[in-house]
Subunit: 459 residues, 2 copies
């Protein structure tokens, strides 16, 4: 047993004791056992002989002798000016992964909604923000951060959301979270503890429901029409109403001013909370921007957003503006899932927004999406599309009585992936339709994709 000095090599778990016999044998036995048991897998680098000798407090020749023997037996490979590595031939093949990869091949044309164009992600610009965050963060902020999120991001977001979305909230009323799905979960638990009764739009986002269902939230479907959520149809006795006012998912309606006012009034009278998913609000093409509902009633509305549809889902950064009365409960729920969000990512986003890079990126992306939207509308039959004024997808009505799933499969057989409206329905019925996204497809690929799609529907 030894004390390491100033060696700079790799770490290696090895039990060696002067009382247990010859040291080079013990090193050999340790590595052999590691390889045989599977903990040292093929390609694993080992410390240099100099480094391991220093670590163990033995002469370098002892380690060299052990490594030579292991190499002769085929357990490791020793090459000049490189670290020794566990030999591929010696290590048992790694166990098969627990989950086999999905069998379905990638579609030729991807018209599924759900993500922005990831090729537009501003890598160089984001790197600049990450570097600034990493170079400027005080040491103390590398510790566990505040559970509600980094103050710098909350202050920047409060200003940004006020300017761009009409959200009225102090930095202290913003809670940073891993995305809208988590914000929704936090809000649902904050409004009513363990078993909230939450009214949701029908049709509404299936993925949002999926993230609430494992957590004992009772979802009550409420129909939507061309004016958005049918506020009159919300049954009494709910704890909260989940709504997408700026751009109803998936139908694309805007919640009218009358319904917004009615929803706020009912929420005050019946004491329920409004959970606003400020979904896709940044992507609008031929209409004025529509502010978040939160601005109407900051004391009744939890407004939630993220960078998943503007920058990239992989960043995992979202937020919620929370009424004062709910703030403590929301903070406690958020903190119950983990000990906070990565601080550097939060500071990078704050820097990115503060210097206007998010505004620029949203504008630049909007031009791309608008051209694709135009190309898609032009290629599809007039009068069959819906929800085209905003967002990253539209609806395409199928002939009455058509089977959405059969149409989807036929289209998929032609190499085009689409989503179906039915997947987002709970209890509602209505004409069958496809959902066509244009976040993942280039403008040039749209005409051939639509030809393939139309061909499948004509068969």
């Amino acid at each position: 047993v030894s004390v390491q000095r100033s060696s700079h090599g790799l770490e290696l778990l090895l039990e060696v004791s002067r009382e247990r016999g010859r040291l080079h044998r013990q090193i050999e036995d340790g590595v052999r056992e590691g390889v045989r048991s599977g903990r040292l897998v093929a390609g694993t680098p080992l410390p240099s002989s100099r480094s391991l000798a220093a670590e163990l407090g033995v002469a370098r020749s002892v380690v060299v002798e052990a490594y030579d023997q292991l190499a002769a037996e085929g357990f490791i490979e020793v090459r000049p000016r490189a670290l020794p590595r566990v030999a591929a031939a010696a290590a048992p093949p790694p166990a098969a992964p627990a989950k086999p990869p999905a069998a379905e091949p990638e579609p030729r044309y991807d018209l599924r909604p759900g993500a922005p164009d990831l090729a537009l992600f501003p890598r160089a610009d984001w790197l600049r923000s990450v570097r600034a965050a990493l170079l400027e963060i005080p040491d103390a902020e590398l510790d566990y951060g505040p559970p509600e999120g980094a103050l710098q991001l909350r202050a920047t977001l409060a200003e940004y959301l006020g300017r761009v979305r009409g959200v009225r909230c102090a930095p202290g009323a913003l809670v940073v979270c891993h995305g809208v799905a988590q914000a929704m979960l936090v809000a649902a638990r904050a409004v009513a503890g363990r078993r909230a009764r939450v009214a949701v739009e029908d049709p509404g986002h299936a993925d949002v429901r999926a993230s609430l269902e494992p957590h004992d939230v009772d979802l009550v479907p409420v129909p939507v029409d061309d004016d958005g959520l049918q506020v009159d149809a919300i049954p009494p006795g709910v704890d909260a109403v989940l709504v997408t006012p700026a751009h109803q998912y998936p139908m694309g309606a805007v919640l009218t001013a009358e319904r917004r006012a009615a929803l706020v009034e009912r929420s005050r009278e019946e004491d329920f909370w409004i959970l606003e998913d400020d979904y896709d609000a940044e992507h609008r093409y031929d209409r004025a921007p529509i502010g978040a509902m939160q601005g109407l009633a900051p004391d009744r509305v939890v407004s939630m957003g993220s960078v998943s549809k503007t920058l990239a889902p992989a960043l995992r950064l979202g937020w919620m503006a929370v009424p004062d009365e709910l703030l403590d409960a929301a903070l406690a729920e958020r903190a119950s899932f983990d000990r906070g969000l990565p601080t550097l990512d939060q500071l990078a986003l704050a820097e990115f927004i503060a210097r206007g890079a998010l505004d620029r990126h949203v504008r630049r992306s909007r031009r791309h999406y608008r051209r694709r939207r135009d190309a898609l509308v032009a290629a599809l039959p007039a009068g069959r599309t819906g929800g085209v004024a905003a967002g990253l997808h539209m609806t395409l009505a199928l002939p009455a009585g058509a089977d959405e799933r059969a149409a989807q499969a036929a289209i998929r057989a032609r190499g085009v992936a689409v989503d179906v409206l039915g997947r987002h329905r709970i209890a509602s019925t209505g004409p069958p339709a496809l959902l066509l996204g244009y976040g993942r497809i280039s403008e040039a690929a749209i005409p051939p994709a639509v030809r393939a799609l139309a061909g499948a529907l004509e068969d």
Copy 2:
């Protein structure tokens, strides 16, 4: 209502319609209303007149007229070659933050355990990894990532944990999570659904218990001694046993080989799971490394770790090696909290480990901590310290009958922050002691800190 062109300015939520009268008046009214309602706070930048005119489809002179009027009224400040900003005088002061900052001043000497030395964080080296991740990530991986974590990180971790900790697991058996607190929660729910009965060390880490308590986990205290957890004292009928074998927190014992074997045997006979918090395993000073228990029984042990004690808590990256039988349940629980971890951070850590930077950082840090440990042992009375062979803290026995909290307060009054053993006890009793960490204090500050501490204890 208009269509934006290729302007590059900032976004601004503003409702303007040619049917509602003079356009410059509408811009003025919109900004005034935004400032008065509090959504446009002092310092908020507004689009340039050129950019806003393009956005609204009006002549630039219309916006210039509106901005001039707003500036004359004191709502905004207009300066040459800078964006207009909301004037400090016009905007209502932001609401007071919901939580007042903690009143307690920072201690002169911080001997609280719980964090590594954040000044050692390898900023330049980490930036190199982040840059590599950002430049090399394929577009498709900027989408939502796999809920179990990025494959590249899981593969790198499997090799690293095998080499350094003796963990035997395929990449497919590793689940990435936000830290050990979350891993523990995932494991506790995976072993028994909603109401697990989990045996925990007493004394044991108070923060770990705090992260399980909001989730309806029944904690059953089991005493520890100089050989670690008293395996014989585990009551029958538990679903899992939470243990810190490499370095018991907070007493510092190593779980003996006999107890490890006995724990595994009982876990097989009584069908409970072992949850191994592989805490502080990297920091050991004058003893050989001790492998993770997982290597003994990969089918019974969930082994959990993170970079919080080696790199920085702010990174929020941890992992768990999960037995095959528990894997589906663990993945479902992990995925129920949010839609995955930040991908770039995971790829950065994979790159950082793969090129040996984590090994180098751990070795370098260990030399610092070892000198501080030595300085602390030298400054404290012989025979009163415990748990000095590893970790980032030690125990200091107080005289029999001493009041830990009173001692802590007296020491704090001299400018030294320490932790007390009692905070980590559940049902156990025993001699009073302080916990002294050396992650946050420089070597040079240790003698004066100990003098202040000793002075307080003598009073």
